[in-house]
């Protein structure tokens, strides 16, 4: 087991595309580290560079104490799980699992023992004598995970392993992966574009955008205080409301008159935007205390909650998360007020968190 250090990683393809602009990561030993971002943000390229499947243009990668820049993938002592599973189609499950071990030249009894162990861990018993085309998507992914386990690598690299599974199975596998990683204590780098996966799995999350790291933090940090407008818009479903605000009389005030608690040390003379989570707002009866007049535009009834889209006279409509007991009809005149703590505040020009 080992931590992974990525320093000033830069990857430019021969055709001129810059996949990774500048990435620094410090992944701890035994950590489940998630790289999250939209497609084309450089997360997969970074992972492939760690694996050795891509050679970075500049920058260093260390696994444990070893500088692995020039090591081929096989000598990095890592295992990778792919989005398309990549099980060898002509081999039975048993042989797929044994394959990396045989390639390493392990003696037969040990191969047998390790395959059995991995099969037990991933509950693959009945599948051992089937070929990949006779396995369902979920079964294939369990085999792919087992094939990674069987090598006892220093780190697991996961490239969107659950993307091709249907929703229910995905939730199960997520739990399974998290449990497995905790059990084995092996460092895991997990790439996904699914924020729910990132939030539920990661010890820490790195949010990447355009080949750069926008923020690294625990799921809670990333959710509570997104480091940039990009992160604010990316994390959360529905995402944060971005409300243009001014500092006036020691208060944060939107154009519509909505009053927010100001964070300390706000810079003056800058155009500011407050990031307010949908659950930090409240739809009230019209004229309620501290509320501004507003109008319900639409309501999404999700069963356990209702998402109201509300026009409060600001530049953009806001989304408000309310319990299902509070019901307003569309077009109803209502009040809107802030009910949370101090919001995150961003500078419009730099798009970064200022307070």
């Amino acid at each position: 087991m080992a931590g992974i250090e990525v320093t000033a990683l830069h990857k430019r393809y021969p055709d001129g595309t810059v996949a990774v602009d500048h990435v620094d990561l410090s992944i701890g030993d035994g950590e489940l580290f998630v790289m999250l971002g939209p497609s084309g943000c450089g997360k997969t390229t970074t992972l492939r560079a760690i694996a050795g499947l891509e050679r970075q243009t500049t920058g260093d990668i260390r696994i444990g104490d070893t500088l692995v820049n020039d090591l081929p993938p096989a000598e990095r002592d890592i295992a990778m799980v792919f989005q398309f599973y990549a099980l060898y189609p002509h081999l039975k499950t048993r042989d797929n699992l044994a394959f990396p071990l045989r390639a390493e030249g392990l003696p037969k009894p040990e191969v047998h023992e390790r395959v059995d162990e991995a099969a037990r861990l991933m509950r693959l018993g009945p599948l051992l004598d089937r070929r990949p085309h006779r396995l369902s998507g979920g079964e294939q992914q369990r085999v792919a995970l087992a094939r990674a386990l069987v090598r006892r690598p220093r780190a697991f690299l996961m490239d969107e392993p659950l993307t091709n599974l249907d929703a229910e199975l995905r939730a199960d596998m997520r739990t399974e992966i998290k449990h497995l990683q905790g059990e084995l204590g092996t460092t895991m780098v997990y790439v996904t574009h699914d924020q729910v996966e990132a939030m539920s799995l990661g010890h820490r999350i790195a949010i990447l955008n355009k080949g750069r790291v926008e923020q690294i933090g625990t799921p809670l940090e990333v959710y509570d205080r997104p480091a940039s407008l990009f992160c604010a818009a990316f994390i959360g479903s529905p995402p944060m409301n971005l409300i243009e605000v001014e500092v006036a009389d020691g208060q944060l005030r939107s154009h519509s008159g909505l009053v927010l608690t100001p964070p300390p040390n706000l810079p003056r003379d800058r155009r500011l935007v407050a990031g307010v989570r949908p659950e930090a707002l409240e739809v009230t009866e019209p004229g309620a205390e501290r509320s501004v007049p507003a109008r319900v535009i639409s309501a999404e009834w999700l069963g356990d909650e209702i998402i109201y889209v509300v026009d409060h006279g600001g530049r953009r409509d806001v989304r408000v998360r309310m319990p299902p007991t509070v019901r307003f009809t569309a077009d109803a005149p209502v009040g809107l007020r802030h009910a949370g703590g101090t919001p995150a505040v961003y500078d419009v020009s730099t798009e970064e968190l200022v307070a």
Binding site: Y13, P14, D15, G16, T17, R48, A51, G52, L53, P72, P73, A74, I78, A79, M80, F82, Q83, F84, Y85, A86, L87, Y88, P89, H90, F99, P100, A103, E104, R131, P132, H133, R134, G137, Q140, N164
Partner: protein, 303 residues
């Protein structure tokens, strides 16, 4: 021929009895469809059938007026003449068939050996101006052979490749490599790169990964592509007639064409030679059909 028309038309109404009536004019339309298809079939198949008939007719029946469709004497003499010379030994035609086999076979192997790895590289790696390179490769096929045959003739004369099998092999391979690259790139794109990635993590080099995992999955595609290349080389006429002259180098297409001309034409021999020449192409076309239908179905991949 007339028989096939009768048969085709008579099935039309018979079928309509067993089926519920189609919407307005269904029956008339069905008859028209079948009739048109029958005419088309006759136009398409008549030359081939006539060729086969002529190849097994005695010379007297070949030239009979009016033409004899059915009551002719069957003989295999023409086929014997294709392979054996009149004075004993091998005929010039049989030598040309052998030449065709060698030239088409070797040029196809060459094009496949060069084209498949190139297709793999174009599919897998990012490279400068990839699209332009691929377009350039394809553009070499835009030029009709007749346009380039004179310059190539002059070049070949300089380097001594005129009237050699090697010369034909090289030019056919050159024409087939672009085709192979383009067709194979499609097949390689279908095979997920993850197989190679996984194999590389398991300790193989990139080339080993290609050889051990990607190549076996490409075999149906390679077979289909190679058959197309083979058919091109086998049928090629323009280069063959310009670049070769002697009987022991000449391939079958110009050799068969050479039978026509002079004072008398032995149509029986021409037809028999054509039948022999067409058979391998038909057989391979049948193989292509199977491979193209089967495609590359990889059980292990879900997209």
């Amino acid at each position: 021929m007339a028989g096939s028309i009768d048969e085709a038309v008579s099935t039309g109404p018979a079928r309509d009895h067993t089926r519920p009536a189609r919407r307005g004019g269904g029956r008339g339309r069905a008859v028209l469809e079948v009739a048109l298809l029958a005419v088309l079939a006759v136009v398409m198949l008549f030359p081939a059938l006539w060729m086969i008939e002529t190849s097994i007719k005695e010379n007297r029946d070949v030239y009979a007026i009016p033409a004899k469709f059915f009551d002719f004497k069957v003989t295999m003499d023409h086929f014997r003449d294709v392979f054996a010379a009149s004075g004993g030994g091998r005929s010039a035609l049989s030598v040309s068939f052998l030449n065709s086999v060698v030239v088409a076979g070797v040029s196809t192997v060459l094009a496949t050996v060069l084209g498949v790895p190139a297709a793999w590289a174009y599919s897998r790696f990012a490279m400068k101006a990839k699209k332009d390179q691929l377009f350039f490769i394809l553009s070499t096929r835009f030029m009709p052979p007749v346009v380039v045959v004179i310059p190539i003739f002059l070049m070949y004369r300089q380097v001594g490749l005129i009237d050699t099998k090697l010369g034909l092999i090289l030019i056919y391979a050159a024409f087939n490599v672009p085709f192979t690259i383009w067709m194979m790139k499609g097949f390689v794109d279908e095979v997920p790169a993850e197989y190679e990635d996984a194999a590389m993590l398991d300790g193989y080099t990139r080339l080993q990964a290609f050889w051990k995992f990607t190549l076996p999955l490409l075999l149906p595609g390679i077979a289909a592509t190679a058959v197309f290349a083979l058919i091109f080389s086998w049928n090629e006429f323009v280069f063959a007639i310009f670049l070769t002259s002697s009987d022991n180098v000449r391939t079958a297409p110009p050799a068969i064409a050479g039978l026509i001309g002079g004072t008398t034409v032995d149509w029986g021999l021409v037809a028999a030679a054509s039948v022999v020449f067409a058979l391998p192409v038909l057989a391979f076309a049948y193989l292509v059909r199977r491979h193209l239908v089967a495609g590359v179905t990889l059980g292990a991949v879900r997209r």
